[in-house]
Symmetry: C2
Subunit: 202 residues, 2 copies
Amino acid sequence: MPRTGRPRGFNRDEAVVAAMLLFWEHGFESTSLAQLRAAMGGISPASFYAAFESKEGLFREVVQQYISTYGQVSESFCDTTMTSKAAIEQGLRRSARMQTERSHPQGCLLVLSAVNCSPEQKHIRDMLAKERERVRNWIKDCIERAVANGELPDSTDIHMLVTLFETFLQGISTQAQDGAPYEIIDAAITQLMSIWDTLSAS
Amino acid sequence: MPRTGRPRGFNRDEAVVAAMLLFWEHGFESTSLAQLRAAMGGISPASFYAAFESKEGLFREVVQQYISTYGQVSESFCDTTMTSKAAIEQGLRRSARMQTERSHPQGCLLVLSAVNCSPEQKHIRDMLAKERERVRNWIKDCIERAVANGELPDSTDIHMLVTLFETFLQGISTQAQDGAPYEIIDAAITQLMSIWDTLSAS
DNA sequence: GGACTTCTGGAACGATTATTATATAATTAA
DNA sequence: TTAATTATATAATAATCGTTCCAGAAGTCC
């Protein structure tokens, strides 16, 4: 927050949101600086680099912006105020709902926006992989809690079950991008969650 | 097959395979012509364009090459010599096995190689979406057959069940790219298929 | 009113993008 | 042996990539 100097001519927060929508739709490498600058209010290269340092710097901010807004749906996975089953189920349903909304690009930015990378920018892909791992660990903790408190039997294959739910969760991104409506994914989630009852009954 | 003229100085088939591996790993836009030409035996721009017309032309050939080799694993979904359940299960397991092999890039080329696209090349993404739809229709036909011959009850929500399996199938690509081993995905498939028995018993 | 600080417009940077032009080499058919 | 055909090497194309430079504009502080 500079107390002196010429004031910025554009709204930084709005610019980050505009950039997020572009990166979300086209991905990190396929979104050009010219596109970004145009969407951010037609700002000049100088303004861009003064505010964000680099394209990668902006992308890092965009990822945090996404996580703290749209991405919050996956925080259901680490919500311990409900049963583990309810947490997993709500996490899946809210993710499916958010990712299929038409008011923004479809799918999950953390899954989609750095799939295609040239070798010299593999660290961008790795960065998103780390963010996905955070979500995976939430799911893992959630299922471990279920075993610990008797929601699921001790014999439960935790690693397998985490992979089952995470694989489905990640598949939602492609489904959403291909235009699948929320209702059908929601129905599939209902069917998927029936596995939980099968497991808890045994 | 030209009967006259100077013979080609490189093996066209091998060049397509080399290009496939690059597109598979980095995606359509993130793979440059310079990289491609180097991997294809260090051929010149002139040789490249004489043989493939354009980068897009090469990519279309690559997609067909993939479908007729590695991609064949998904033809299990349209194999009517076994039960529908066995066809779905085998399609998933073979896809998981192939996509996690370390002898080539991980994941499915049809799912991964055109996720990030600039607007002017959206038709590339659409082309792959069409190929994915072919697989989806195999799954759909397979499940419809199951309902028709009594493997699954008439009350089965076909659209839901197709989405359930396809979403999981597409999620395998991200799992494989993130380094998930075959065994754990295979275990998840076993659990996923238990849904089939739940449905057929009702 | 300077001095200081920050942001902006605009031009330019070198590198890389996919693609094309030109001239020549290597083959077959007549 | 000449013509026709196809592939080659090399150079150059225009456009775009992310980024930097520079002079000036627009503020606050003393």
